[in-house]
């Protein structure tokens, strides 16, 4: 199973820190999994101009293709100006309609204020649903106070991330079985 952990911002360290832990924990619990961490801060990605994702060059092409080849995408996002960052929205804009069909997507949110809790629910999930993702409904919401010097200091947060990973893998495996069963019934 191919897993992409996406750190959706070029700003700050919290989302990156959360995704680093997510990847570390994923690898420990699922040593066989093919995990790629994409931190958008490491890439030079152009804005979507509407072309098919295969037709982009360089970093843009690499990131779009890697995401499209994944079975699971764990998205880490900060909240900026009461929304998801433009860098993350641009990734969605680069991809085709229904890009997340047959993919499981789960969410880790970092935020400066607890007042941002519902933003992923109201702004990120509708995008993922439109793109046909199988969404892990419960996401992990992490606040400023849970970080200290690029580490997560709250065991509760670590436990919640671990549970998110379990739920993500469980849904992906289950969904794959359901899909295989359904597709074999078509007879073509």
């Amino acid at each position: 199973m191919k897993i992409v952990a996406l750190s959706g911002s070029k700003v700050g360290s919290k989302t990156k820190t959360a995704m680093n832990y997510t990847v570390k924990s994923l690898k420990e619990k699922h040593p066989g999994a093919d995990v790629t961490l994409i931190d958008l801060a490491d890439y030079d990605i152009q804005f979507s101009d509407g072309r098919n994702y295969l037709e982009y060059e360089g970093d843009t092409n690499f990131v779009a293709q890697t995401i499209m080849e994944a079975d699971i995408i764990m998205i880490g996002t900060p909240i900026f100006q009461a929304s998801i960052p433009a860098t993350l929205k641009n990734i969605f804009d680069l991809l085709p309609i229904n890009a997340f069909q047959d993919k499981v997507v789960s969410i880790v949110v970092t935020a400066g204020s607890s007042k941002h809790y519902l933003i992923a629910e109201q702004q990120l999930k509708p995008i993922l649903a439109y793109m046909q993702a199988q969404i892990i409904q419960k996401y992990v919401f992490i606040e400023e106070k849970d970080f200290y010097r690029n580490e997560i200091t709250s065991d509760d947060v670590l436990f919640r991330i671990d549970r998110l990973i379990e739920d993500t893998i469980l849904l992906a495996e289950t969904y794959r079985k359901i899909r295989e069963e359904k597709e074999s019934a078509y007879g073509f």
Partner: protein
Amino acid sequence: MEKYRIDPSKGLEFGLYTLGDHISDPHTGKRISAEQRIHEIIELARLAEQAGIDFFSVGESHQEYFTTQAHSVVLAAIAQATSKIKIASSSTIISTLDPVRVYEDFGTIDLISKGRAEIIAGRASRVGLFDLLGYDLRDYEELYEEKFELLLEINKNEVVNWSGQFRAPLNNAKVIPRPTEGSLPIWRAVGGAPASAIKAGYAGVPMFLAMLGGPATSFKRSIDAFREAASQSGYNPAELPISTAGFFYAAETTQQAQQEYYPYINEGMKLTNGRGYPKQHFAQGADPRDVMNIGSPQQIIEKILYQHEVFGHQRYIGQMDFGGVPFEKLKKNIELIGTEILPAIKKHTAKK
């Protein structure tokens, strides 16, 4: 309709089209040479003519996994190899070509073929050719509109006075050779959506409507929008032919047709578009109300007749060679078309 060389009394025209894709057969992993693929396309047109098929067209795609970039050259070879079948481009990407050169080419193909050439002008669904041929993707819409207008202008007048944004002006420019009947049927290629169909209606030109899959009644909205827009712009919709285009594959039974064609469509789409064809949608395609003409000859006949009833169109063209389908299978399809499908369609749609 006459202007577009269509005689409605003869019933629905049936054609085949290829995008000229050049893809390995997913069953064997082997890809034939570009030379062989091009020769097979020419041979396919010849066999189509023998089977009584009305129309054959070739598209241009400037990207990996395609081989008919110089589609007008391939069409010239087909013109020489055949004598009755209508031949056209599906599509010519007019946005990134010079309409004068396109007209010279197709005027010549019309002379070689003795009056059988047509142009279907499109805008490209993939955009690699903008870089390749030196155009800016940001001019996508305007390049198409301006050059399509110029193409129509050249078709109307042998001597052209014209100026625009994307090409040097033409002052009393004579564009020759002229086609056999003085002008060519020029169609506007339209994707599924009504918004695109309306533009063909505004221009009062015939429309080629691409339909991958979905209920016929959904595509009917685009056809209605086209006719309404044409009417509002002062054209008579009854004089503007409509053609539809979509997947086609016949085998003894519908299940066999699905089994045979699905891997080609799925793998071919993965390579050219980056996403396969969802099985659920493909399965639904067998429904009599869906436009995907994949099935037994009887099922295809019923579907095409149903579509004709809904659309009232003049031509249908099918794409059966997508994704590396081996030539033997294509020949088998042509045989089923010629012996079973075509006679039934003509019988039911020709005006006695």
